[in-house]
Symmetry: C2
Subunit: 333 residues, 2 copies
Amino acid sequence: MPELRKDPILDRWVIISTDRQKRPTDFFLPEVSHREGGFCPFCEGNEDKTPFEIYARGKEDRKVNEPGWSLRVVPNRFPALTIEGDLKKEGEGLYDKITGVGAHEVIIETPDHTETLASMSVEKFIEVLEAYRARITDLKRDKRFKYVLVFKNHGMAAGASLEHSHSQLIALPIIPKRVGEELAGSKRHFNYKERCIYCDIIHQEISQKSRIVLENAHFIVLSPFAPKSPFETWILPKKHLASYENIPSECMESLARIFSETLKRLDKALGSHPYNFILHTSPFGLENIEYYHWHFEIMPKLTKTAGFEWGSGFYINPTSPEEAAGFLREAKI
Amino acid sequence: MPELRKDPILDRWVIISTDRQKRPTDFFLPEVSHREGGFCPFCEGNEDKTPFEIYARGKEDRKVNEPGWSLRVVPNRFPALTIEGDLKKEGEGLYDKITGVGAHEVIIETPDHTETLASMSVEKFIEVLEAYRARITDLKRDKRFKYVLVFKNHGMAAGASLEHSHSQLIALPIIPKRVGEELAGSKRHFNYKERCIYCDIIHQEISQKSRIVLENAHFIVLSPFAPKSPFETWILPKKHLASYENIPSECMESLARIFSETLKRLDKALGSHPYNFILHTSPFGLENIEYYHWHFEIMPKLTKTAGFEWGSGFYINPTSPEEAAGFLREAKI
């Protein structure tokens, strides 16, 4: 019999549809494959084909916007929001609008066109995670912004328009709805119990074991109780911390190792598949709150969002998180 | 400059991205085409290949589950929820779950494999709309349910697994999150102003004109102020009414006419495209509330939902509703 499960933080139910039960091989997977030929503006040597770089890692004697880098951050050439302009709030009858001020940046994770987050070394993965931290910290100085959302689209089916491995960030003048819902839900729990709900989740998952994928000294990887899509996987710090950018430097290697292993296990279980991941961290000014807990959410793109999901805000998931965690634990990498 | 616009009912902003401005021909459209050959369980003559019918329209002397029908409603062969069983609510530590009890039905809109909602006659369209009403009214007698969500997935890219024109409904033991958010938002407005927010929207749109697509004596079709996807289109009754099933019979033809014309105009502007539509009506027991207003939301599937949308709950829309409404008004049908 199917089961309706409630996300403990958001007011959202998912249907774990056992009759439609699916193993990894049952999904029709739009495989992410490398296309030969064609020009790529993110490859080394094509630095003049992107907007001027904001941040980079690489050789010490390297010149800005020239080869020799291992990671570059550049403005998105087709930004969703624009960095220049004042924040103007205006009404139109009963409607509200704000000028579309924000930052939209691209983190080019590697100069190598064929390398992915799952295939790169832990040392290079650390550079990517440090770039997220550096850009959030820098953008925080811009008083127009309230939040930076870091995310990755991997594969065309997951929304990537360029194949070369990259992530993106958008700095926003308002707190995103989804983050606001997480803050509200976790605050409600805190007000009632004086405990962080994410800390409570980690505690329960460690004692139940069935949804844990991986664990190391500082981090835990799990399939959440009420995942909206099959093989949705979260990475959380074990010790309470509201903001990603305050992650202690000595934990970065630990995070890179477990994140890399998670992506490798997902690739092993599902084949080379499209996915998204998002970083959820506290909004600017709330870095030290007791009720929120930063985390990554990884969502393999295996199912379609259709009328039911749009109309209800609920999701139908054909793979239970207990099964998904089992497949990921058993994946031989 | 892009614009951030807030949905007046939901706490959701969309980015109307003028730099990425798109006309209908700029979208890469996965055309919905007819595939030749293959077996279809929804075609006339294959009545024994579907579960036993629940409701049908057709010739007076027709026998149940035999040819001669013009519309049939059958249980979904692969239901997301099951109709048999008790509603059991259970905890698991800090998590909550409910047995997956619900109805999942398919409305086979026509016996003709090649006919679509956009191509059928107004008389046949009325039958479809009356079937929605009849099934909602019938399912309301089941005390386990709180809501019936009617929706349609048209085209593979919009989640349809069978090509033959059909819509679906799912009866749920809980109120969907999205509907709950609409109820909360519209109640907040009502508490403050003593007016239905949808009635206020209709009033403002009629005076502004720029987002109106079509209008007749009883209904209005508009591009909403903050649409999450390009060419999102709403159909609303002009006169306040919370529940779809209480629609006066004399308005059904008027609704079928304007709905049919809307789909034809969308097809003309966008080509034969995948789309979803959903019916939002009041939950069971709240049929006569003053603050909610039933409506259809039609969402052409033209863009991909990616990391930013999942992570933020916000949407990037490359076509403003004013432009979309203009294209639809000008479409020659």
